[in-house]
Symmetry: C2
Subunit: 466 residues, 2 copies
């Protein structure tokens, strides 16, 4: 058993001391890959600490991928430090690695709680596909993806998003990033592309890597506007109307109609509607997607299974207007579909049998609860007087605007000292605004459970109340 | 049981009549999806034809994906007509669909014989991955792919291609097409790219879709040359030195050194070495890859598992020179890896346990035998006097130059009348040469078994001897 001296007089909580100790032992190889950790009961008895303390430390190690639990058997070391990172490796993530190890509550925005994923069902369907469809698994698939999956996606869009889509309009690809690249190839490198500013930095990077003219578009309280676009000569606009990233704006119908009118005005104008977390809507009336309001074949709709299933499943899809379907076949029909047939068949089965709907409903419930817990803790707690919560009607993140006299850098560093990582809004600007003038932080709530959210919010109280 | 009237006096062979009948019944839905076909013995007795006739008809239906065989159980209808095509859907393939249904021997070049794939081993490893690595399957993976697979690939390249490669230099992606797009993003759209002419039309299309300056480079008998490149202002050259597509040239060492010297001459020059079928080399001394001869970090090497495993597995990789690794991380490190973790883990296991080496050796033996059978039948048979075979030292296709007074169109159409599809060399030129002046056809031998190859060659005798 381990020999560590827990310091009960330290400011660092016991579970954090235990977690740090175990993590270092795993990273250094003193606890070996595959080794079984002591049971929670045994370790709590040995160290004379509460079961809850051990449990919290183990939960954090699990969340970060250092250990896994095998039901009925115990906890085992999974030394993934070289092979894996914890989540989508964005620039954010790389930064996260350089930071002091004391970050306990990471309010990252792109985190998916995969612990709730019905993996045994997925594995069962995978096994069925392996045994039933062996011949198909070796054949190449049509460029747009296998028909049965496109049929399921069309059904899903009809039922849950009110969209009338023909499977022929759907193109399946290995992630929204890849599909965005395809769209640029489809529409042409020489267009002038507009992206939301602030926005998802990857989107700006993808456009920059493919096209020469990319313009970050300023936002008002309703999102991007036709006014804001004019003057740049933009003819293709990328937007996230269901839930803007990161501002959290749900674009009102009036603004949607305005953008559609803008697109209708010239033949070469298009709107790319990125519905990256459209499944998770908690408040207000559902607003139709731009795609379903579009009568002039001006909207290309993109959505992903990465947020709703797991980041490791690189499956996204786009819905092309009919006129662009023909162009796609002619110009890009030579590309093979980038998603393996195996994943496509398994996902088609998963959707067909209703597992996807159930999973989405379950995740929605979980994320809504997390959002509610966090909002309540902040609005009704000690932070309530000077912290404004916004952008939380949908999705997996919200914004906190903090009126305590601290600027963004101070908000981040004081939070870090309490073991909390939040993200400065200024980081999401393509042409950054000064962090000194900002006092808003972006807070993802999808990767932490309610207990962690409460403790994280408590840590923010310690950080921001002075 | 079926009621069809076989016409023994017809020019159409009996197995072809049976095959056509069954295919139409399946396509029309008269024989339903999932239905079990009569056993070969029962059907031969019922129709009073030989077992071989039934067997050949069934084999053709299987090869085309209409039916599958379940060992010990029989043959079942897999109505994949809408959902599947038989192979990589290239422009070639789409054409193939419009053609008369009498094509029995399709000498397509991009066919992989998946019937030899050790699927039960793959399925077993897949199941192991599903049960052992469930947590990993839901986590995202590093942008370059999981480390364990990159380690296996580096080992493989060392042992079989004599290449000293660090796993850090390897980037895994969903197909060579995708990786080629990434390379263009990495090096920049504004470069002048050179592609081999004739060549693989997809490559030309990918460069055209991403970059503004793409120049098809004429070839001599050794491949592309520094002389041929000069004048275009090209600074990035894409080549297939191991086995040129479609000419079949294995680039001699002298030419390889010449191209490397060309690349060394200026800082922004690079060579993309596409080793698409480098595993399958049958004759002559092994020639080192450009990558392994490169001392100035000028070669980007691409290879794929699509040809060596199955088209449905979209797994390719590239090896970057060290200097470009840093640039990759900075410029493109934001992209998520496009291959699911599941496939990567399964393939890593497959390689680790030696299955991949064994499979490659087996396929090499099979393809070599097919090449030998076809070459012998043509060179030593009735076509020998006026057909020259070339480009067959490696790969999965060869060239036939036919001196019987027919031009390319006549060669193709006379072959088609005998139920054979071969491909005109002129089709592979970006700036096509006239089909009227060409008398060379491209013949893939990887998708037909030896019996089919012999019958196909016999049909070519009937077509081309007049």
């Amino acid at each position: 058993m381990f020999t560590l001296n827990l310091d009960t007089s330290s400011k660092t909580p016991l579970y954090m001391q235990l977690y740090s100790y175990l993590r270092e032992e795993i990273k250094s190889g003193n606890i070996k890959n595959g080794e079984r950790l002591p049971s929670k009961r045994a370790l709590s008895a040995h160290l004379k600490i509460s079961m809850i303390t051990v449990e919290t430390a183990y939960a954090q190690l699990m969340a970060e991928g250092y250990i896994t639990s095998k039901p009925g058997s115990g906890f085992y070391v999974e030394c993934l430090s070289e092979e894996y990172i914890f989540d989508n490796k964005t620039q954010e993530t790389e930064k996260a690695f350089d930071e002091p190890s004391e970050i306990i509550y990471d309010f990252r925005t792109n985190r998916v709680d995969t612990s709730v994923f019905p993996f045994s069902t997925w594995a069962k369907l995978s096994r069925e596909v392996l045994s039933e469809r062996s011949a198909d698994l070796l054949n190449a698939c049509p460029p747009q993806g296998i028909l049965s999956l496109r049929v399921r996606i069309a059904e899903y869009l009809k039922e849950f998003r009110g969209m009338a889509v023909d499977p022929e309009q759907i193109v399946i690809g290995a992630g929204s990033e890849y599909l965005t690249g395809l769209i640029i190839q489809l529409l042409g490198r020489d267009n002038a592309y507009g992206v939301e500013n602030p926005g998802y930095s990857k989107i700006y990077n993808i456009f920059s890597a493919h096209a020469s003219r990319v313009f970050p578009i300023p936002m008002d309280e309703k999102g991007a506007s036709a006014d804001a676009i004019s003057g740049f000569g933009i003819n293709v606009l990328h937007v996230t109307p269901s839930h803007h990233f990161p501002l959290g704006i749900v674009m009102p119908v009036s603004r949607r109609l305005e953008l559609l009118r803008w697109a209708d005005f010239k033949e070469d104008r298009y709107i790319i509607e990125d519905d990256y977390d459209g499944e998770f809507r908690y408040a207000g009336r559902p607003i139709p997607t731009l795609q379903s309001m579009d009568v002039h074949e001006k909207v290309i709709y993109i959505s992903t299974f990465t947020k709703s299933l797991a980041p490791s499943m690189r499956i996204s899809y786009m819905v092309l207007p009919r006129s662009l379907c023909r162009r796609f076949t002619v110009r890009l029909g030579f590309y093979s579909c980038t998603v393996p047939v195996f994943e496509q068949l398994t996902l088609a089965k998963f959707m067909e049998k209703g597992h996807y709907d159930r999973h989405i409903n379950r995740m929605k419930k979980i994320y809504r609860q997390r959002r509610d817990v966090l909002c309540k803790k902040i609005s009704e707690g000690r932070l309530g007087d000077f912290v404004k919560v916004s952008g939380c009607d949908a999705g997996m993140h919200l914004l906190l605007t903090v009126e305590n006299g601290m600027n963004q850098s101070e908000l981040l560093s004081s939070a870090a000292r309490e073991g909390v990582k939040v993200y400065g809004l200024s980081e999401y600007y393509s042409f950054p605004v000064s962090a000194l003038q900002e006092n808003t932080v972006v807070v993802g709530f999808s990767g932490l459970n309610t207990q962690q959210l409460i403790r994280g919010a408590e840590a923010l109280e310690r950080a921001w109340i002075r």
